[in-house]
């Protein structure tokens, strides 16, 4: 399997990365994320509206959410759900609907808290997804 060794970080995020202990930085290469895109509420609403999920595990989760008695039960359902065995295309659709800005915020708040190489790997995956999202948004929203 390919080794994911690059972090696609903005200049501000790079500063956060550089502030981490050197042993955490070892083995990672920062590639500056220069793409910029300003999302809109209409874009977000539209992306959410076109979500069509097919994964059986997610569809079972949907039924649980729909049958929830109250918002606390929904909260519990969400907190107990994991993404293992969820089909990759459906994961991608959810990230697509979410968009780049929340993803950036999450990168920015998780990066400084990284304490293990696994934490950095998580950021690397999210930054790679954001990189592709930015490209698709810039190319298609005009």
């Amino acid at each position: 399997m390919h080794m994911m060794t690059e972090l696609h970080l903005t200049a501000a995020e790079t500063k956060l990365f550089n502030a981490l202990p050197s042993e955490l930085q070892d083995g990672w290469t920062v590639v500056e994320e220069t793409q910029k895109f300003e999302d809109t509420d209409r874009n977000v609403r539209t992306r959410i509206s076109i979500i069509r999920l097919k994964d059986p595990k997610l569809n079972a989760f949907k039924e649980q959410v729909k049958n929830a008695k109250d918002q606390n039960e929904v909260a519990n359902l969400i907190s107990e759900f994991d993404l293992q065995n969820v089909a990759q295309p459906d994961l991608a659709k959810l990230f697509f609907a979410l968009g780049t800005e929340p993803l950036s915020k999450i990168i920015q708040i998780t990066l400084p808290k990284a304490t293990t190489d696994k934490d950095i790997e998580n950021v690397a995956a999210l930054s790679l997804i954001r990189n592709a999202l930015l490209r698709s948004f810039i190319n298609n929203y005009s």
Binding site: V44, I48, L58, Q88, S136, F137
Partner: protein, 279 residues
């Protein structure tokens, strides 16, 4: 999808000699003329999900005519048309006046088309199996070096999605995308729950006495999602500090009913709560 920005000789039913560049969008005025049906009948087909397929079929039957009419339109993507008709129909259900507000409807359909195109590009680029473009890539890529690069890229995406799949349940991205899924199913209240996934210390307290404080996405101003709109999950400003803790959703931290925003967060169980709403 076809890139169908075009300049028709005369936009269907435009009623003007405008030279404004228009693409083909399945609006009621266009389909009424195209299919030779009354406006009321067309409207009924839009708002009746079981009849939307007839609209799509009608469009596809006139594909050649439309391609001749709209310069630059080479073909019509049936799946795209289905999505656009769905989007238009849902808008008309929410707001029947949309039938007459062609300008607004065109804007909505334009964003829908852009979103579909963006989604397609993103899904193709991030597909670890290269589905969709696999065959095209195989026939296009003769250069073994380039083929190796493509394989490496797929391998990279497989790794990235594996990482996401195995992230801990309390990672904020997991909660966030599950919230997005629930919202897409009509559970708008979940947007408010999203805030509960992020526990941020009060920046006014000392490090030794950090109180874990639940901070709503907007700093406490909004904890629910109005039925009329979906806002971005405005997550906390990182400039507030990095010493946060991530915790799973804690139902004990749920805001009391009095903390619900205006307009009030709808109660689960309310008829229509889970129906697809105002997206």
């Amino acid at each position: 999808m076809s890139d169908i920005i075009s300049q028709p000789e005369k936009a269907p039913n435009s009623g003007s000699d405008s030279t404004e560049i228009e693409s083909f969008l399945p609006t009621p005025d266009v389909l009424s003329g195209l299919l030779g049906k009354e406006d009321a009948e067309i409207f009924e087909m839009y708002i009746n999900a079981s009849k939307r397929a007839e609209l799509v079929d009608g469009i596809m039957e006139h594909e050649e005519d439309l391609c001749n009419r709209y310069e630059g339109l080479d073909n019509i993507d049936k799946l795209e048309m289905e999505s656009l008709i769905d989007a238009a129909g849902e808008q008309m259900i929410k707001d029947p006046s949309m039938q007459q507000n062609i300008h607004e409807l065109r804007e909505i359909l334009t964003v829908t088309r852009q979103s579909l195109a963006a989604e397609r590009q993103f899904l193709e680029e991030t597909d670890p199996n290269g589905a969709g473009e696999k065959e095209a890539a195989l026939s296009r890529i003769k250069d073994s070096e380039k083929g190796a690069g493509d394989k490496e890229k797929r391998s990279l995406w497989k790794k990235a999605w594996d990482v996401v799949t195995w992230m801990p349940r309390n990672h904020p991205i997991i909660t966030t995308i599950l919230a997005i899924a629930a919202i897409s199913w009509g559970a708008y209240v979940v947007w408010g729950l999203l805030s509960e996934a992020l526990i941020i210390p009060n920046p006014m307290t000392g490090a030794a006495e950090v109180a874990e404080t639940v901070v709503a996405p907007t700093g406490g101003a909004v904890t629910g999602i109005p039925q009329a709109e979906i806002a971005l999950p405005n997550l906390p400003d990182p400039s507030r500090g990095s010493s946060y803790l991530l915790e799973p959703l804690n139902i004990n931290n749920m805001p009391p009913p009095s903390a619900t925003p205006s307009p009030p967060m709808p109660d689960i169980g309310t008829p229509g709560f889970f129906e697809r709403g105002p997206l």
